[in-house]
Symmetry: C2
Subunit: 264 residues, 2 copies
């Protein structure tokens, strides 16, 4: 294989395996090249990605040495993405009765999911996340996109469990909005013990749901390494969980009033 | 930018935008190169991907001419994937009371989701899919992975609708397993009219759910271009929908008996 072809194949092999350790032998599958040429090729890929802030190629030292691609996103791409989403979400026609903001279409958009997944993954990749946890239903696509770039399983906490979940652990909590007692459950088999968990969700108001997920994950002896939400409300400023990251912050939503969305 | 660097960047630009028309100007963003060099670079990427059955780079003729990357998967990769999933799923410890097969962990695995998404997308990309439709909850990750490679929105049919869905259309149907009347709803804003829809789900037994989705989609004047399921049961052989594709077929599941899974 010529060098030009090798570079294409190596770029693809890295990009298709985000956050996965790859040895030079993994990268050389299907290539006929000396290890020294492969190292040079890796150096070119690394240099291009880093020059464009489009990701990193980390070296893994030691006997099992190799490289690892981390997906990235440049500052200008991030700014463009944030701007486009804000433009789209501040349309007054999105206001639903009761002061809710219609966001389903945005949370279904493949480009938005991909960007959000990259941003969440980049933010938490150094925490050594083992599993991405979300609560059904609207946060699942975001969680899947994030788990893709972290290369970890996505675990879904359910409102109502089913026979196909196998044995589950359930917790009760008081919903922040309805003040009613709710239940959430997690399959014992789906969630490993002692895992480092990243919680991903679409929306946070008071934070009661995320706080309940913390309680549920404690039953699995998990450590919560972070909480990443797409949209958090500005009020209440004090959430029921101490720390969280959100891509957007939403002002109060009232019919006939403009919508204010900032990006923290 | 040197040619080696250009090839890396072009490979990344294509792979990051599956099933999206890109003009040479799109591809040249951040590059300093003549159009003729870019065309040569595209030709190298195309040749490598096609030689390895790893995808296609299609030319789009006409004034808005350009190229489009379609994700692929080689026969040997597909065979390896099918084999690994079968090995994992035929573990007798997966049998749940009532003759159900525990699959949540497999449907949460980032590698499996990625492969299934590529396979479903490749199967239906030529149908001009506008939207991937699934029913909450377990099929959502598969639908998200498929929608990523088709670059279309993922629309989730819900068992219970919420205020944040906005106005919804609901249908009633009789569940294949419980024989009880069930409801499913779809947000009017989330689903465009007259769309070409690909239905994706994790499991099909009689097909009552998928049939109900057909009925619901008819309310949106949609055309169903296909149904892609991860696992279908061998019995009943005659499903309530005429056509569907499944990656795996499951024999009867009984405690103490071996599990048989084939790949159609």
């Amino acid at each position: 294989m010529r060098r030009a072809e090798r570079l294409v194949w190596m770029t693809k092999s890295l990009l298709d395996h985000p956050n996965q350790p790859l040895s030079l032998s993994d990268l050389s599958v299907g290539l006929t090249a000396a290890k020294s040429s492969l190292s040079e090729d890796v150096a070119v890929v690394r240099q291009v990605l880093e020059a464009k802030q489009a990701g990193q190629v980390l070296s893994i030292p030691g006997a099992a040495g190799g490289v690892k691609y981390l997906a990235g996103i440049s500052e200008s791409e991030r700014a463009g993405f944030i701007h486009r989403v804000r433009e789209r979400l501040t349309d007054p026609a999105r206001i639903l009765p009761g002061g809710f903001l219609y966001m389903l279409d945005v949370l279904a958009d493949p480009e938005i999911l991909d960007y959000a997944g990259r941003l969440f993954a980049r933010e938490f990749v150094e925490q050594g996340v083992h599993v991405v946890v979300t609560v059904e239903t609207k946060g699942i696509p975001l969680a899947v996109a994030t788990a893709h770039y972290l290369h970890v399983p996505v675990v879904v906490v359910r409102r109502e469990h089913r026979v196909t979940d196998g044995p589950v652990i359930s917790v009760h909590y008081v919903s922040g909005s309805t003040r009613r007692i709710q239940t959430m459950s997690l399959s014992k088999r789906a969630m490993p013990l002692h895992a480092r968990a990243l919680i991903v969700d679409d929306f946070m108001k008071a934070g009661a749901t995320v706080k309940a997920v913390h309680g549920l994950l404690a039953e699995f002896s998990a450590s919560v390494v972070g909480t990443a939400v797409f949209m958090a409300t500005a009020v209440p400023a004090q959430k029921l969980v101490d720390t969280y990251d959100s891509l957007f912050r939403l002002g109060s939503v009232e019919e006939g009033q403009p919508i204010f969305i900032t990006s923290p």
